[in-house]
């Protein structure tokens, strides 16, 4: 600790603080333009100049100057005021002053400082910038005439996002921020630069001329897309979410968001939302109905089916809603209860439970930043969980962590500095994981204290030497060994595994293999280390914690659908899921949904809802109160920002009404229900709703200790033999099928595509945007071609989000699909 005096106040602060930080901690405000809490000090704007007695003769930039013992600092004097005013005058020489039409007006740092320092006239005259506005992309508008060259956008895109869109180009007066070759922005569109810009130079386009900042009501909630659980602050006006506001003080994401979080909110305001319940009439047509009628029909249908009713929930419901849904299934007397994808989600947690005795990630996301060795299983990890990916990027850039990506295709993660990519043939992640375990054991560097069945695993892994694995599935034997050694040497290890509907093949086996590696590398149970299971949906972990899984005599999703097709399951209640689009094996799903009495509760008339007998209009995350549990076990508050359109109701309200119809009295508010479920759910025991503050509550603590360390043998896959293999998965801009209703993500990736390598494109004679047909069995898929450098020859990729593509006609849960391209 260091002692210093700022403005006559005695201050003790950390040795690593800068003058600016020390002042801020103690409530002393120094103006800044180029400083940002999450970026490294830069010192570009010279607004934060202060006087330091020991450094007389010049003014000192407080944001880059470290504190020293006995320092005496003055943050304001006539001299400082004069200099700061001059700096502002300099900036305003070239800056185009168009505050009345600038969206930043009212929260612009330059505007505020100009006002504060009373820069009424300017002693200097000069040329105003006259640069064209970058309006090429639909999400981010760049007006460089307003830029003050603070470099925050350049730095955030490098330090946090790791994309590197921007750089300073040219020299002197000509200096400006530009992309490579000064083209329009064409990047991930995460909008981190938008949130950092202190002026109106980088703005969210969808928000243009929508509202002045002071007209917006701000509501802190949790993003409804992936399991990262980022805090999103809704900017609400006229009962519409107008934008997502920057908020770096709440939640786990420090204000970082991805394209979905920042620009994917528009599905909430979509005019196609369901506004009234619907019932299938005697002519077989869905017609609008009153709530009472629809609820009665649904309740009676489910009640009549009794133990042969099935309940399928999406993992985008809140904990409270999931709890009520489970209660509904019990009230009806059915054990058939499951959530998204059934085997897929459950498989992952079951794999973990058998090996480690827990069913959740063992660490928390902030710990990843200090890990020395990181293994990401599946290169799609960045696509499914971009903001965790940004943490990985920071771990690498700030703390020189070594990242290894076990990948079937390249991607953002494989491009990060010094990232090691263990490329394998599709579907063979387990083989690589086994080879890592084999190395740890063979070289005697594995952690084996208190670990069961070490010898059995070692014997089993004899076939999985890095050399043998590299030969069969690709990858480099030396690289595998290097990674294994790094894992053993590192104090803090992070192993990341994303799961979700498009990754349902061998999910239990994969989780088991990952858990084996976590045990042998000392990651499981190690302080600061963690094995992270990252669910695809906002509340995937909550669904696991609350036991939205089949009861003793119950069926899982696949078996329910099978049973429904066979007439054994007589009624199905599907909430917040569109199995027709997202579940593997469309034909089987359709057969299962068509036959029974089907109740669908969703926000849109989805393909699944079109088959329903009763459709109930539900609410989005922006209309709900409750809690989500993110992929690091953090319970966070979801808050309603707007009212649902038309007669749509929250799933919570629908479930309570339905329960009432079935003669069950339940608590009326989410808070009361949480109190009830926290009694029942062991993980949440002792957590009161009031405890869930801005940073949420992590159940099980920062490090969740495994209850056992049981190694399990799990066989790798034999590489599939086909000239072309099709992979499916998530693309960066979308999440499930929900984001295909959101204008932001859609404007970047509007439709399905088939991605292939340059060499395959050349062999097949197809060019970008041409249509390509893929035959798989008796089915044919058709999509536009996207040629890229991500995929190896012979491997193709199609995202699974798009209803029109009907990818699940061929995707039936296989590791990869052999296809035949037809032009």
């Amino acid at each position: 600790m260091v002692n210093l005096t700022i403005d006559g106040k005695q201050i003790t602060t950390a040795k690593t603080s800068t003058i600016y930080e020390a002042a801020k901690e103690n409530g002393i405000n120094i103006p800044v333009l180029c400083y940002a809490k999450k970026l490294l000090p830069y010192g570009a704007c010279r607004i934060c100049l202060v006087e330091v007695e020991q450094m007389k003769g010049r003014l000192i930039p407080s944001c880059t100057t470290p504190v020293t013992e006995g320092m005496v600092v003055n943050t304001m004097s006539d001299e400082i005021r004069k200099v700061r005013k001059t700096v502002l005058e300099f900036l305003l020489v070239n800056h185009v002053v168009e505050c009345p039409v600038c969206d930043k007006g009212g929260e612009c740092d330059l505007q505020d400082l100009t006002y504060e320092y009373e820069v009424v006239t300017n002693r200097f005259q000069g040329e105003k910038f006259d640069l064209p506005t970058d309006e090429i992309n639909p999400l981010i508008e760049r007006n460089m005439n307003r830029c003050v060259l603070c470099g925050k956008c350049v730095r955030v895109c490098d330090e946090i996002v790791g994309y590197g869109s921007y750089s300073f180009i040219n020299r002197g007066f000509e200096t400006k921020i530009a992309t490579a070759f000064d083209r329009g922005l064409n990047c991930e569109f995460c909008g981190q630069c938008v949130s950092m810009c202190p002026v109106g130079a980088i703005l969210p386009r969808p928000f243009k001329f929508k509202a002045r900042p002071w007209q917006l009501k701000e509501v802190d909630s949790v993003c409804g897309y992936c399991g990262n659980g980022c805090t999103v602050t809704l900017g609400v006006k006229d009962n519409q979410v107008q934008t997502i506001r920057f908020n770096e003080d709440t939640g786990v994401n420090h204000g970082n968001l991805c394209v979905r979080g920042r620009f994917g909110y528009s599905f909430v305001n979509d005019t196609k939302r369901l506004k009234k319940p619907m019932i299938r009439n005697s002519n077989g047509i869905l017609v609008e109905a009153e709530w009472e009628e629809a609820l009665s029909a649904a309740a009676e249908g489910l009640k009549a089916a009794g133990s042969s009713a099935g309940f399928i929930a999406g993992a985008r419901l809140t904990n409270e809603e999931l709890y009520l849904f489970k209660k509904l299934s019990r009230t009806v007397g059915s054990d058939n209860l499951d959530h998204s994808g059934g085997e897929c989600y459950r498989g992952v947690t079951e794999g973990l439970f058998e090996t480690l005795g827990v069913k959740a990630s063992t660490g928390t996301f902030p710990q990843i930043e200090s890990a020395q060795a990181i293994v990401a299983i599946r290169s799609d990890f960045y696509e499914t969980h971009p903001v965790v990916g940004m943490v990985v990027n920071q771990a690498i850039r700030r703390n020189e962590a070594q990242l290894t990506v076990i990948a079937d295709k390249k991607g953002k993660l494989t491009k990060l500095p010094e990232a090691r990519t263990l490329m394998h043939t599709p579907g063979c992640e387990i083989n690589i994981l086994n080879a890592l375990c084999q190395t740890l054991l063979a070289e005697g560097i594995a952690v084996t204290d208190g670990v069961e069945d070490v010898a059995a695993l070692q014997a089993f892994l004899a076939d999985y030497t890095p050399e043998a694995v590299a030969q069969t599935v690709g990858g480099d034997a030396e690289a595998i060994k290097k990674t294994a050694r790094e894992l053993a040497a590192a104090d803090k290890v992070a192993i990341l595994l994303a799961y979700g509907l498009p990754y349902s093949a061998y999910s239990k086996e994969l989780a088991t293999a990952a858990a084996n590696l976590a045990i042998l590398s000392g990651c499981a149970g190690g302080a600061g280390s963690g094995l992270y299971l990252c669910g695809e949906k906002a509340n995937s972990q909550g669904a696991i914690d609350l036991g939205i899984v089949p009861g003793a005599a119950g069926r899982g999703v696949q078996k329910m659908l099978q049973g429904a097709a066979d007439g054994e399951v007589k009624a199905l209640y599907v909430v917040a899921e569109d199995p027709m689009v997202t579940y593997p094996d469309r034909q089987a799903v359709e057969a299962g949904l068509k036959k029974p009495f089907l109740v669908v509760q969703d926000i849109y008339l989805t393909e699944t809802a079109r088959l329903a007998d009763v459709v109930l209009p539900a609410a989005t995350f922006a209309e709900k109160d409750g809690t989500f549990t993110n992929a690091e076990r953090r319970l966070q508050r979801v808050r309603a920002g707007i009212k649902s359109p038309g007669e749509a109701q929250t799933d919570f309200a629908v479930f309570t009404r339905m329960l009432k119809k079935l003669g069950q009295v339940t608590a009326e508010t989410p808070t009361q229900v949480f109190a009830e479920l926290s009694q029942e759910c062991t993980e949440y025991k002792g957590i009161a709703p009031a405890d869930i503050g801005p940073q949420g509550v992590v159940w099980g603590g920062e490090s969740l200790a495994p209850t056992k360390k049981q190694l399990k043998t799990v066989a790798g896959l034999v590489p599939m033999d086909a000239s072309y293999l099709l992979l499916t998965g998530s693309c960066l801009y979308h999440s499930g099928s929900l984001s295909t209703h959101a204008r932001g993500p859609l404007s970047v990736v509007p439709e399905a595509y088939v991605e292939l390598s340059r060499s395959d494109a050349a062999t097949l004679g197809v060019k970008e945007d041409e249509l390509l047909k893929l035959k798989a069995g008796d089915q044919t898929l058709q999509a536009k071609v996207k040629v890229g450098t991500r995929l190896p020859a012979g491997v193709m990729f199609m995202p699974y989000h798009f209803a029109e593509l009907e990818l699940n006609r061929v995707y039936k849960g296989q590791p990869a699909i052999p296809v035949k391209p037809v032009k």
């Binding site: 590197g164 750089s167 490579a180 404007s747 970047v748």
Partner: protein, 170 residues
Amino acid sequence: MTDNVQQVEEQTEELEVIDLAGANAVIDKYIDMHGNLMPVLQGIQEHYGYIPEATVHLAAERLNVYASQIYGVLTFYAQFHLKPRGKYIIRVCMGTACHVKGAGRIGDAIKERLGIGHAETTEDLKFTAEYVACIGACGMAPVIMVNDATYGSISVQKTAEVIEKYQAMD
């Protein structure tokens, strides 16, 4: 909104097809050196005569530097050229002494003969004109340089002769 999407796609210009072997060889040479970006770019320029866009993307990928950063470096230093340049670079000194002695007329003469002004290149990629500040040969003003050769006390007539001499060469 769809219009914008269209634009995003359209702006991805077709890259000029060039043989990257030269650039790869340069990168191979410096790949393990710390701070290798400048020598790599200089080497690429020496090989191709300018920095083709495809080589920027290649260097970005192989050196793990953002293409935007490389572009920043390329636009910062006057020594780098992003467009093909002529085989013969005619530097016309516009320094004080040359200016007084009629350097402007020399520039005009080149424009008249070759149709190129400052920083312009003939279509056949044979000549590039560059107006530069003092090249340090004021004693023989006005002065021009063609690549490494200096031609002092030059006149409009002599300029034409020099150009003809180089036109005759290949």
